[in-house]
């Protein structure tokens, strides 16, 4: 990725955009997307559910940010909240600044302009996102005609271009096919092509490869990687798969029980996780280099379902390092021992301060 400035996180060189919950991941040159204090509350039959609890993060232009967490952490809700895609029983508060505009102040009409045109989505299940009775060419073409005001041969040319961009061979022929004639991976590529049709500034991909086989996933991740180089689109990737994160992400934001608990450049997050939950996640993935330590690390307990934001660390009752402070005071997102922001009263120390562990040890 030559020539693209990689935003440095937590170095203090970037200015915090708004005085919130600790220093925010500030990106050089002003972020494309700045989410500040975003909260989402659902009114359900069983009472109120706080799905997103004052979340703040940035996505810079051409950035690829992974929003990581397990189910129930609020990452998908956050993604949907950006352009007002939540159901009626959701209450959203906070600020969502995109390319200078506050999306929360836009009317439904204004949001519709943004959706698809400037912020595009790709979801997990391509079969249900594509219209089964229209050909691929028709569907992509429709996006171009509606949002880009293109007609005739120009539409067809651009469709072929887009399919090429996402690595679909024999693009011209594919345009005439129906979704059911395509395999899962192909459909997902078509979804990405449709999302890119309007040359959006931001592509939000919500678990785009979870339903796909691993060999197909590799191809899709490749597409995500190359499209940033070729089109300059920023990507916000929602996932629970740390392997996927390691493969494509540049920066990572980790969420737990509705809060951002850690955010860092990808290399630093994996090598020097500061939050015990992040550490737990990394240890839970089978990795033969660590087999010598015996057993996969488990995180006991379950992700809580919260009805309000507790005055405590939400991970406390599952954390081996928790103490009374953790249970009675809400930690803020602040630079940790390694420099990147973490929300923890007792973050893990920088391993550089301890003798390095031999990697790829005895097998």
């Amino acid at each position: 990725m030559t020539g693209v400035p990689r935003p440095r996180v937590g170095t203090g060189a970037g200015e915090p955009v708004v005085a919130v919950d600790g220093p925010v991941v500030a990106a050089a040159g002003g972020p494309l997307l700045a989410v500040r204090d975003l909260s989402v509350r659902f009114a359900t039959e069983e009472g109120a559910v706080l799905a997103v609890d004052r979340v703040s993060f940035d996505v810079a232009e051409r950035d690829l940010v992974a929003l990581v967490g397990e189910s129930g952490c609020g990452k998908s809700v956050t993604a949907m909240a950006l352009t007002g895609l939540l159901p009626g029983n959701a209450t959203v508060t906070g600020e969502i600044r995109f390319a200078g505009k506050d999306l929360r102040r836009l009317s439904e009409g204004g949001l519709r302009e943004i959706r698809g045109r400037e912020i595009a989505y790709v979801f997990q299940e391509p079969m249900t996102s594509l219209n089964p009775v229209l050909t691929v060419g028709r569907q992509i073409g429709e996006v171009l005609r509606r949002h880009r005001d293109m007609h005739g041969a120009a539409v067809r040319r651009r469709c072929v271009e887009l399919l090429d961009l996402v690595g679909i061979p024999l693009a011209a022929r594919r345009l005439r096919e129906y979704p059911h004639q395509l395999s899962g991976g192909m459909r997902q590529r078509v979804m990405i092509a449709m999302a890119l049709a309007c040359e959006p500034k931001l592509l939000v991909a919500d678990e785009p490869t979870t339903a796909l086989d691993v060999t197909v996933q590799a191809g899709i991740l490749d597409v995500l990687r190359t499209l940033r180089a070729e089109t300059g689109t920023a990507v916000l990737l929602i996932t629970h798969d740390l392997g996927v994160v390691a493969d494509v992400a540049e920066r990572v934001v980790v969420m737990y029980a509705g809060r951002v608990i850690e955010s860092a450049d990808v290399d630093e997050l994996f090598a020097k996780p500061a939050h015990p939950y992040t550490r737990g996640l990394l240890d839970a993935v089978p990795n033969p280099a660590r087999h010598a330590e015996g057993g996969l690390r488990e995180i006991p307990g379950r992700v809580p379902v919260l009805s309000h934001s507790p005055e405590a660390c939400t991970f406390a009752d599952r954390c081996p390092r928790a103490d009374d402070t953790c249970r009675t005071r809400r930690p803020e997102l602040a630079p940790g021992p390694t420099g990147h922001p973490v929300r923890c009263w007792h973050p893990l120390p920088d391993p550089a301060a301890t003798p390095p562990r031999p990697r790829g040890g005895a097998r």
């Binding site: 009472g47 015990p276 488990e298 006991p300 307990g301 379902v305 081996p320 301890t354 562990r357």
Partner: protein, 302 residues
């Protein structure tokens, strides 16, 4: 990485606030939903009241239903005779109550009969591929007959009576029950827990009885709640045609039919039984709709 070594994980944390529902908890939640919806709650109340009145007809009715009194014929509704009297001086209120009881009895019993016959057939059709074509063709054949033709035929053979009406309506209701039971069986047998039961060594009977049937109950309850009003109307029609209950036992349908020639002189004779039928079936339908919506599982939220 100097993280303290993990000790034995403590026992699992207690379940979260909002678990996905099934079985008993689902029914409690269903009840809450029903009560919240005014239409279905209203339906439930009306049905309950009418059922109670019908069941206690002997006690509640001010007069014996067959008591004639030629001094008070064709009286319009009054404090003494709430629904008026007919051409024989019989108290209509009492007759409507007893008629309602007949309707409810036939309605409910016929549906019970439909279930007793239809559920096993439906389960078998859904479970054994071999039997499916046979049973399905049988069902289709039955559905091809207008049910009245069936009822008329049965009545001709058995002679008109409350029992005939019950059997005729019961038989007529079988195809629908078979359909529901069959489709539920087809759906459920694909689920992993049924395969697990087979893997555990369950016999076919055990699989059907312990795993499939209990989970098909919801759909069957809903279907039954919808079938009963149909049966009630069916009974009225049969009796109207003279194929059901015989006089002097009141039947709402008979009361309506015999009120026809007297409509000018005593409209109340037709109105009250008619309203009773409409009210009961409407209330049952509304409650049934509400029940169906309420039992519809809001599928698993991950």
């Amino acid at each position: 990485m100097t993280v303290p070594a993990q000790t034995l994980p403590p026992p699992e944390a207690p379940p979260p606030a909002a678990p996905p529902a099934a079985a008993p908890a689902q029914r409690r939640r269903a009840l809450r939903r029903i009560l919240r919806n005014p239409l279905s709650a209203g339906g439930l109340v009306v049905v309950a009241v009418m059922l109670l009145a019908a069941a206690l007809a002997d006690v509640v009715a001010p007069f014996p239903y067959e008591l004639t009194n030629f001094d008070t014929t064709l009286q319009p509704p009054s404090p003494e005779h709430l629904f008026g009297t007919d051409e024989l001086g019989r108290d209509q209120f009492s007759r409507v109550l007893h008629g309602l009881r007949v309707s409810v009895a036939v309605g409910v019993l016929s549906v019970v009969l439909s279930l007793l016959v239809g559920v096993p057939l439906g389960l078998l059709a859904g479970f054994y591929r071999v039997l499916d074509p046979v049973i399905s063709r049988l069902t289709d054949t039955m559905l091809a007959f207008p049910f009245l033709v069936l009822a008329v035929g049965l009545a001709a053979i058995l002679g008109p009576s409350q029992t005939t009406a019950t059997i005729a309506l019961g038989v007529g209701g079988v195809p629908l029950i078979i359909r529901v039971a069959r489709s539920e069986t087809l759906r459920l047998r694909e689920l992993d827990f049924v395969a697990a039961a087979v893997a555990d060594g369950a016999s076919d009977v055990a699989v059907l009885g312990r795993h499939i049937l209990p989970n098909a109950v919801n759909a069957l309850i809903v279907q039954a709640t919808v079938s009963v009003p149909a049966a009630v109307i069916g009974e009225s029609v049969l009796s109207f045609l003279g194929l059901g209950v015989r006089p002097p036992t009141p039947s709402l349908g008979v009361m309506i039919s015999s009120a026809q020639p007297l409509f000018r002189d005593g409209p109340w004779l037709a109105v009250f039984p008619g309203v009773a039928i409409v009210l009961f079936t409407l209330a049952l339908n509304l409650f049934g709709d509400g029940l169906r919506d309420a039992l519809d599982p809001r599928e698993v939220r991950r």
